[in-house]
Symmetry: C2
Subunit: 303 residues, 2 copies
């Protein structure tokens, strides 16, 4: 088993983006701009948004965070998105999910100009992705491909099993792997005999939010295991069951442990695996920076 | 084994569309309009276009066929599509594929207003389909779902194997089956161990254009076999190998036989199967009529 070090891969993306932006600055060109819109007080969202803003600034991206109280009217939110669509400083607009329940998230996400859709969630961009006509890829599955590339893992002809059919991870991940010539099975909560299906996989991507969902006896020896789950555990017995030794130490120090959807024992049978944390997580933010720069280049006619 | 009679299912769709249009006529409302654009002299395309036009007129759809010589300039073709986008008589625009090689088909297809994209090939509509936010479905996979519905075959939890990853059949079919709670594996030319994968399938959709590709010993007893392939055979030995008794008779009369991608012996092991011809084929035209009416209803604010 070999660790796929997402922190290291993410650093290489940050470096790449920072270097490209420094060249733009040397040439006195405008730098790429990212706007993140957050509505309400979801604690995890607030942390994510802060991380995104900090990282963006660090690599030289012009970054704005627009924070709204959950009581904002839909009209005001819509107007803001339209004004960002027309703002020449902004190349990427990210609507932090989840939005408060009173909003129809689709209606709001659809307002983002596909040319500034830095998350790649607009139907037009997802359709382009399905067609293999790349424009912009959702950050998390894009991060998975980048890690695989960094470790020279070619998925051509591999049997890949993607668990979870969200539009954020599972569905675009399945399409992207198909377009890279993998044979992909997309599993979800209604899948029967999931253990049998996983047992045939050369590569597993798990994103269901259930600790220990993929068990050691399900996986084929030597498989590549990609863990997109992030689960916070605060009970000692859960930590004992689902966490690695590192995480057990964290639990003792901080009172909580973090684990993914794949049981640590399964990693021992794997060829490669992404740890949680330090695997796919850091890649998501890195690819957001990559996408912001990428949209900047498209919209400036540089590519 | 039980035949899934596509001719009968198609007739029920034609009847449904015709009945709805007759009500529009009674109310002195405009009838739905379809424009089919064909460029060049591809013989199969010419037959398809004639069938579509004839069927449209039969069910009461206003139908225009715009025929261009292969030498038409891209500019002229683009202008025509833009004028059809703005034509209030037209609800659905179909660009018959393949276009002559000098055209970039994507560029041309992208010009069709997603609101008039009767084939459902516009990236925005494919993205909506991936997201399960139905607007319009490509006709062939939509026809497959309709046959399954007519025979009350519920795919929830089924292992479905889709062979072929075209944007016309395989990719949208896989998404549509996923959204109906099936577990879907999308196979293609780079898939290894395809026999093993097919052997686990409760339902197989084959669309690769290779006679006898799915063999009897690959399929599970009782599986649902959906054959989207249409292959014309003119050699006696091929007809002997790949055709049903009916097709052997056709060969003797007409000098050619028609067969799909699934070997006739496999049908004998199936629970249900679609014959070729008379299975999925007639459904494609039927769903085109359905989609034209559906777009009319959306664009007229009736649904």
């Amino acid at each position: 088993m070999k660790i796929l070090d997402g922190k290291k891969s993410a650093e290489s993306v940050f470096d790449e983006v920072e270097r490209e932006i420094s060249i733009l600055k040397e040439k006195n060109l405008r730098t790429p701009g990212l706007a993140v819109v957050i509505v309400g007080e979801d604690p995890a969202s607030k942390i994510y948004v802060r991380t995104k803003d900090r990282k963006a600034k660090k690599v030289g991206i012009y970054s704005e965070v627009i924070r709204y109280d959950k009581d904002i009217s839909e009209d005001e939110l819509r107007k803001k998105i339209v004004s960002l669509n027309n703002d020449p400083k902004i190349d990427g607009i990210l609507i932090q999910l989840p939005l408060p329940e009173k909003f129809n998230s689709w209606d709001i996400l659809d307002l983002v100009d596909p040319k500034k859709d830095v998350d790649g969630f607009h139907p037009k961009n997802l359709g382009m992705l399905m067609l293999g006509r790349r424009k912009i890829f959702p950050c998390t599955p894009f991060g998975v491909l980048r890690i695989l590339d960094d470790y020279e893992i070619d998925v051509t002809g591999m049997n890949c099993v993607v668990i979870g059919r969200s539009f954020i991870v599972g569905k675009p991940m399945a399409s992207m792997l198909t377009n890279r010539n993998a044979t992909v099975t997309l599993c979800h909560s209604r899948t029967k005999n999931i253990a049998d299906i996983i047992s045939l996989a050369d590569l597993v991507v798990a994103g269901v939010g259930k600790p220990g969902f993929v068990k050691s006896d399900m996986v084929k020896k030597g498989a590549v295991l990609i863990d997109v789950g992030i689960n916070y555990l605060d009970k000692e017995e859960d930590v004992a069951e689902y966490c690695t030794e590192d995480q057990k130490v964290r639990f003792k120090k901080k009172g909580y442990g973090i684990t993914g959807d794949i049981h640590p024992d399964a990693f021992k049978k794997s060829g490669y695996y992404t740890p949680v944390p330090g695997g796919v997580g850091p890649m998501t933010v890195a690819m957001l920076m990559y996408n912001t720069l990428h949209l900047y280049k498209i919209n400036s006619g540089l590519i």
